[in-house]
Amino acid sequence: MSWDWDFVETIIPSLMAGMLITIQASLLGSALALVIGLGFALARRLGAPAIARGVGWVVDFVRGTPLLVQLYFLFYILPDAGIRLRPLVAGVIGLGLHYGSYISEVYRTGIDNLPRGQWEAAKALHLGTWATWRHVILPQAIPPMVPSLANYFIAMFKETPLLSTITVVELMSAARGVANYSYRYVEPMTLVGLFFLAISVPSVVFLRFLERRVALRTE
């Protein structure tokens, strides 16, 4: 095995282009997962029993099946149903749906962990539903959720290479393209690994910091 710096220099531009798509997909996927997760959590909490049970089953199903197969399913099924999406959009929907299912559980436990007395006190003060959620429940429930949410965002970021299987030209796909074209695997694959390490190690350090802050607040 030999490492060729000149070769590295020539492939950096295409890897950088892929990196931007990777970051874009992670950010969009995270935003969508937050919204979908909230939708699932609210449907399970406030919806009619049939809806709550149905959504609970969907969440279970999504969490019990591989993201890769879900991506294939979305990518190939949606055009059949007459919905044409750019691969990146299909990928972001897949990420959002998969991680939204995990995140709905974070919301759920975050809200369930609040002491009953908080609800009762809000009722005793004659606060309406909106005021109860806005001024009593959410301000206390959200901060402890932040580390778990961040944890899922980091996990999602590391699963974005799967989008290459549905023809999104993100970092992994760019690296594979370069590798197939030049028959050199060492440099592109190693650089992709280093890139992921370079983002996730600082994120984990930041996550630990968040965890400590939250622990201090709730003490």
Binding site: M1, P66, V69, F73, P161, L162, Y185, M189, S200
Partner: protein, 221 residues
């Protein structure tokens, strides 16, 4: 749809299912070993061992599993370590999921109350006896729910071995799609099969948890 069609492709899916189950079963014990070695390493008295375990865990958690798989399959042969798709898949899954599992092992050991260690010291048990007969039996029960989750992650993770041409369930479904142009049926079928498998894993872990915690006064964490 013709019965012959269903029989032919059904068989292909079942053969893929068998590979998926094989990869999961081969990787599971290895995952457990990685989790214990790395988890105990992090709880070690010696700083160098702790640092080495932390580096291993952060490396495998920090780089994507997909990237690790490609690296193992395409780069290791260049340094004289050719791996079959099955070997590469099992190895990478075990190292990756095991690195997440290490945190479960470490957390469970730290959750055994201090008094238990102290009582074992007072009874003049050796370091090994304290671990083997006092700490581990209590910590292991605490690890079970976490290991259940890891087992599901492992099962779902096996789908990526299809990308290095191992003919698991996902690979064969994708092949059926390419050959027949039918999309909904193969993918829905394997989604349901994956779900049934994970539900089975979850049920098995619950059962084990009940059995192992019977008669133990476990402090829930």
């Amino acid at each position: 749809m013709m019965p012959g069609f269903v029989a032919e492709y059904g068989l292909l899916i079942l053969r893929g299912l068998w590979i998926t189950v094989q990869v999961t079963l081969l990787a599971a014990p290895l995952t457990m070993i990685v989790a214990f070695v790395a988890g105990l390493g992090r709880a070690s008295r010696f700083r160098p061992i702790r640092s080495a375990a932390t580096a291993l865990i952060e490396f495998f958690r920090g780089t994507s599993i997909f990237v690790q798989l490609f690296w193992a399959y395409f780069v290791l042969p260049l340094v004289g370590l050719p791996l079959t798709p099955m070997q590469a898949g099992v190895l990478v899954l075990a190292l990756n999921v095991g690195s997440y599992g290490a945190e479960i092992v470490r957390g469970a050991i730290a959750a055994v109350p201090r008094g238990q260690h102290e009582a074992a010291v007072a009874l003049n048990l050796t370091r090994w006896q304290r671990f083997r007969y006092v700490v581990l039996p209590q910590a292991f029960v605490l690890m079970l729910p976490g290991f259940g989750n890891s087992a599901v992650e492992l099962l779902k993770g096996t789908s990526i071995v299809s990308l290095i041409s191992l003919q698991d369930m996902t690979f064969n479904a994708e092949m059926i799609r390419a050959q027949t142009g039918s999309t909904a049926l193969p993918f829905l079928t394997i989604l349901v099969l994956y779900y049934v498998l994970s539900a089975g894993v979850v049920a098995g872990c619950r059962w084990l948890e009940r059995r192992m915690s019977a008669g133990l006064d476990v402090t829930r964490v």
